[in-house]
């Protein structure tokens, strides 16, 4: 397969992925926006006004970057996990497997689809946040870079989950029991400076903490973590997940008998 054909194959997968989540927009785009609007109203306006400042910022300004990142993470992950597992479940993943499309193109295609939804929802939530909070962007390059890398990383994680999944339960276990607790404990709603030594140390093991803080730095210039550590952490995790996902596809794990 020459490069031109590879490009056609990649753009075909990405187009198909975008078409999929756009076709079912009431399931894929509307719910996260409504959820985030509720977060802004409850945590930002109703409770936030009584909390006062967090890291010398009005509470709504403090939580807004975390909430945007939360929507990027959950949507990137859930798009790939549900699309890839759905293809496995209906067996239409075989359409791709019998074709000459290389595994790395399949991987990139699904990941790009996940990123398209994650970043799309993230963008809508950002517009929503502007309605609730005032902020000027502190660093556009940091903001863009960290949101792209985070979306990439969770799209890869969603793909690995989908490869291993053999039932619909298997695609909801990780988001429910791993992803959600990590996000809630990842510095979205509070600064880790509020935590005591042990809990602070434990929080530093949570990769989401690094992404949320780097993104918050990009948006409002405040962070609990060194942002170079954040980029290193996200880069390292993304690289590991990329090679694991590629290895699983090459091996045909749970895809070819």
């Amino acid at each position: 397969m020459d490069n031109q054909k590879k490009w056609v194959a990649l753009s075909t997968i990405v187009r198909r992925e975008i078409r999929r989540f756009m076709r079912i927009w009431p399931q894929t785009l509307v719910p996260p926006v409504i959820t985030m609007a509720l977060y802004f109203v409850i945590f930002g306006k109703l409770i936030g006004s009584r909390i006062g400042e967090m890291s010398s910022l009005p509470y709504i300004q403090f939580v807004a970057p975390g909430l945007i990142m939360m929507s990027v993470i959950t949507n990137s992950y859930s798009n790939v996990v549900s699309s890839f597992f759905g293809s496995k479940f209906q067996s239409n993943i075989e359409e791709l497997l019998v074709s000459p499309t290389p595994n790395w193109i399949i991987l990139l295609g699904y990941v790009a689809g996940g990123m398209a939804r994650g970043l799309g929802v993230g963008f809508i939530v950002t517009l929503l946040s502007i309605y609730f909070a005032d902020f000027s962007l502190y660093s556009l390059p940091v903001t863009i870079a960290i949101v792209l890398m985070t979306s990439l990383m969770f799209s890869l994680a969603g793909l690995i989950n989908a490869i291993f999944a053999s039932s619909f339960d298997d695609i909801s276990i990780i988001p429910t029991f791993v992803l959600t607790p990590l996000i809630y404990l990842g510095g979205v709603f509070y600064s880790i400076e509020l935590l005591s030594g042990f809990w602070k140390g434990l929080s530093l093991l949570n990769p989401i903490l690094y992404m949320v803080n780097a993104f918050r730095y990009g948006m409002v210039g405040i962070t609990d973590i060194n942002i170079f550590e954040s980029f290193a952490m996200v880069g390292l995790f993304s690289a590991i997940l990329f090679f694991v996902a590629l290895w699983l596809l090459e091996k045909g794990s749970r895809l070819r008998s």
Partner: protein, 318 residues
């Protein structure tokens, strides 16, 4: 007519052992010539779908060599796959997508750009009688239409080898005949076709060469003509006028009363039927119609599979 020279498919000592240690293929050898219409027959679980799975990369072989138009799949499976189109047994397209989108997307996986893919999709949807439904969700198609959609999908990259795994299963007779005529036409245009089927009449009607696979072994690999030649016995059902209580036995013509107005008789290939009819006339029995008990190939197939079963039992015991 196309010259049957080079191999479209060459399989040598192909072995497949699944993770549960089930040996689905026990070292099969198979050659399918370019331009051939080839049948792969076998009972359920014989290894037909596993063989097809290996050819299209959905099943990883345990040992052996597979070459598609001379390309070793171990060396360049991607290049080999460009030549293969597969129609699986089960519906495996996205039921929420429209037929037109399914075809254009499939073409994209082979690196065919949207303009060419759209043109081809229109062509195959029209050829297979699906044009009216090109823009509806594919889950709303009938079973026969879904099968034709899978054929269109397999042809969208214009493969030189088309592999069909029981394409007419559950399809009504009229549609089956129209699919036969479509497959015959693309074979005449040069596409090599490998077909697995349970309908032996289908293999006899369509195919030039045949391999019978049973319990992971090829038990016969020959032309349909040769296979039919090996058939030395045929069983006929004779419908009688009125009811008959008993018919006197006739040497060399084993007669069996099925019921009071039907008899069954087995006749060797070179035996004349005249003597039988003279005997029945003498007995005062009037025959109103006569038909084969089963498809000729079916009888031979059952005979071979049974022989293979017996041989395996003997070797297992031995």
């Amino acid at each position: 007519m196309k010259n049957l020279q080079s191999n479209a498919l060459q399989i040598e000592s192909l072995v497949k052992t699944y993770d549960n240690n089930f040996k689905a293929l026990k070292g099969i050898d198979l050659e399918v010539k370019e331009g051939d219409f080839f049948a792969l027959l076998g009972p359920n679980g014989a290894g037909k779908s596993t063989t097809i799975g290996v050819i299209c990369s959905l099943v990883r072989k345990s040992a052996g060599k597979v070459k598609i138009f001379g390309i070793d799949i171990d060396e360049d499976f991607s290049a080999a796959k460009q030549h293969v189109g597969v129609v699986p047994q089960e519906f495996n397209f996205n039921q929420f997508e429209k037929p037109i989108d399914i075809l254009i997307t499939q073409a994209g996986y082979y690196g065919i750009d949207v303009a060419v893919a759209t043109e081809r999709a229109h062509k195959y949807l029209k050829l297979l009688g699906l044009w009216e439904k090109h823009n509806v969700p594919s889950r709303s198609l009938s079973g026969g239409m879904k099968r034709r959609l899978m054929i269109a999908r397999a042809l969208i990259h214009e493969p030189k080898l088309l592999v069909l795994d029981e394409p007419t299963a559950g399809v009504d007779i009229e549609l089956r005949r129209s699919m036969w005529s479509f497959l015959e036409s693309i074979n005449r245009q040069g596409t090599t076709i490998i077909l697995t089927t349970h309908y032996l009449e289908e293999a006899e009607h369509l195919c030039r060469n045949i391999a019978i696979i049973d319990q992971g072994n090829i038990v016969k690999n020959t032309s349909i003509k040769n296979l039919i030649k090996q058939l030395n016995k045929e069983t006929f059902i004779l419908d009688l006028k009125g009811e008959v209580k008993d018919i006197k036995a006739l040497d060399a013509y084993p007669l069996t009363m099925v019921d009071s107005s039907t008899i069954e008789v087995s006749i060797d290939k070179n035996q004349s039927l005249n003597h039988l009819f003279s005997h029945l006339t003498t007995e005062g029995v009037e025959v109103v119609s006569m038909r084969n008990k089963a498809n000729r190939l079916e009888e031979l197939f059952i005979d071979m599979v049974e022989k293979n079963l017996t041989t395996n039992k003997v070797s297992d015991n031995g």
